[in-house]
């Protein structure tokens, strides 16, 4: 759409600007402030320069959390994207059942995150949960509070349960935009199912899939509540992802300086990914 140049439009944006500045810029400045200072209590602060950043970059703590975080995000994307596409391809196209399926699939997306955690915490318990009980009955010594591999599997299955529908719904929206004529042409050419997918459906879904991958990456990158409720970051530090570690540092131990330095580096990563996301979005807007 052709847009006219009009700098008075700033007045329309002003309320948003003020509100978001209040809830984003001021807090972020506080963080920057803490990241370069040290305190011995009583609100007396000393200039610490880049001390915290150096300490943090030299310590294993953040790198380990980052490593776990990246591994987690990579695994859930590797599972959720193909599974989501597969589900989308099998969803009913129209009619009453299409609506029912849409509603049922959306349900996990709308459950409060701590309740998602609670559901899986209960579901996986050997004594009272269906999953834990069944696994136990099958002779598998399943215990997500003691065994870190089991904890990982539980958290990953939980995330797949929680968010695969989102990928599927996005892919489904992409599929819906393909005109029937494309399929008819493929039929005349006697294209195989795989060829139809590879050369018609996948290219048409590419845009929404890119959104799906980025959204899943962003949201998994700041995951906090769900694994915290299920495992509390344990056993040991096995499922302590970036946000969990940060909250532990900032609100648990009240290490303001290191936590602030941690926050800023965390935020820079997010900024980078946001930029990729934005570029993808604007390219899509131009095409569409």
């Amino acid at each position: 759409m052709d847009k006219t140049v009009n700098n008075k439009a700033w007045f329309l944006v002003l309320p948003v600007l003020v509100l978001v500045a209040f809830s984003a810029v001021i807090p972020l400045m506080t963080v920057v402030n803490y990241s370069v200072q040290d305190t011995f209590g009583n609100n007396v602060f000393f200039w610490a320069g880049l001390e915290w950043f150096k300490e943090l970059l030299a310590s294993d703590r953040m790198w380990n959390a980052l490593g776990r975080q990246l591994a987690f995000s990579a695994i859930i994307i590797a599972i959720e994207i193909p599974l989501g596409i597969f589900v989308a391809l099998n969803m009913p196209k129209r009619g009453f059942w299409a609506s029912v399926v849409l509603v049922l699939m959306s349900l996990p997306l709308l459950i409060p995150w701590n309740v998602v955690g609670t559901i899986w915490q209960i579901f996986g318990r050997v004594d009272i949960g269906l999953l834990g009980y069944t696994l136990d009955a099958l002779g598998i010594d399943y215990n997500y509070t003691q065994n870190s591999v089991h904890a990982w599997v539980t958290v990953i299955v939980m995330d797949v349960w929680h968010w695969t529908s989102l990928v599927a719904l996005l892919a489904y929206a992409g599929l819906q935009s393909i005109p029937d004529a494309y399929y008819q042409a493929a039929k005349i050419d006697q294209a195989s199912r795989w060829k139809v997918f590879r050369y018609i459906e996948l290219p048409k879904m590419a845009g929404v899939l890119m959104i799906a991958i980025l959204l899943r990456f962003m949201d998994s990158f700041m995951i906090y509540t769900e694994p915290f409720v299920v495992t509390g970051g344990g056993p040991g530090n096995a499922t302590t992802f970036l946000s969990i570690d940060l909250v532990k540092m900032a609100l648990g131990q009240f290490d303001l300086g290191p936590a602030a330095a941690f926050s800023l580096m965390y935020f820079l990563v997010i900024l980078l990914i946001s930029w990729v996301f934005y570029t993808v979005m604007t390219n899509l807007d131009k095409r569409g």
């Binding site: 709308l110 459950i111 899986w120 609100l251």
Partner: protein, 269 residues
């Protein structure tokens, strides 16, 4: 056809089964007594009871959690959509200095990890005397909900042809009257979707709402930790509380079913 097994249906049934089983288990547990939950293993309640729900709906310490959550969620939704409407219009219709940077900056706030903001929010709202108030949580959630609302609404508004605006101005409509009388009805579904998503994201968030409240505005998500008492966990009540938090989403989901993907993708599908 009737003899052939439909592959798609099988896939969908398996997938939906996977989605529904944990939810079913929660509902199942909420209808059992604690003795039955811990004592025997049963796929459905042997002695059906609604006592767990009665506990929540009669104890103020419990139901006030829902009331508190609803209060700040509604406040947040109203604020977010109200300020996002004019801004989204500006982004969809005009070029202005720094518009792209601003739009990008909004996105970074949608993506910002709440964990980064938990501590500064706590200090900010404590220092202005808003700690443990509903408005504090409502404002804090604006961090991600205002950008979300702006992006979603912009997505809907770009679909409305600009000729409509121009015709209205030629007909002598002022901007305010045009916006309220003509434009808003045209994008009413977009407003509904934006409001729904603001409601949802504020409702599901726990970290910030828990950090910013202690007693007076304590959300239901934080209240749920109450079940861990000295005598062990009150599983039945915990499950019932969980089921009740799913209800608001389940109630409206039918109306927004065709827009779920669009909302999550920030209006870009």
């Amino acid at each position: 056809m009737s003899k052939r097994i439909n592959g798609s249906a099988v896939v969908m049934i398996l997938y939906l089964l996977f989605l529904m089983l944990p939810i079913y288990w929660l509902i199942n547990m909420s209808l059992k007594t604690n003795a039955e939950i811990t004592g025997t293993f049963s796929l459905w309640p042997q002695s059906l009871t609604f006592a767990n729900y009665a506990t929540i709906l009669t104890d103020p310490a419990w139901y006030m959690g829902y009331v508190n959550s609803l209060i700040y969620v509604v406040m947040n939704t109203v604020i977010s959509v109200a300020v996002a409407l004019p801004a989204a219009y500006a982004f969809s219709r005009y070029h202005f200095m720094g518009d792209k940077h601003l739009f990008f900056w909004l996105l970074t706030n949608r993506m910002a990890p709440p964990a980064v903001f938990a501590l500064p929010f706590f200090q900010l709202y404590s220092s202005v005397g808003l700690f443990d108030t509903h408005i504090a949580v409502a404002l804090a959630h604006c961090l991600f909900n205002v950008p979300l609302a702006v992006w979603i609404l912009e997505g809907f508004m770009r679909g409305v042809p600009k000729e409509i605006d121009e015709t209205a101005y030629i007909d002598g409509y002022s901007f305010g009257r045009f916006f309220v009388k003509i434009f808003m009805p045209l994008i009413s579904s977009g407003i509904g979707v934006a409001a729904f998503f603001c409601f949802m994201f504020s409702w599901v968030e726990l970290l910030l709402s828990r950090t910013l409240t202690s007693v007076a505005a304590k959300p239901i998500a934080a209240t749920m930790t109450r079940t861990q008492g000295a005598s062990g966990v009150d599983w039945g009540v915990l499950a019932a509380a969980g089921v009740l938090t799913i209800v608001p989403g389940a109630l409206v989901i039918w109306f927004v079913r065709n827009y779920i993907a669009k909302g999550f993708a920030l209006g870009r599908v």
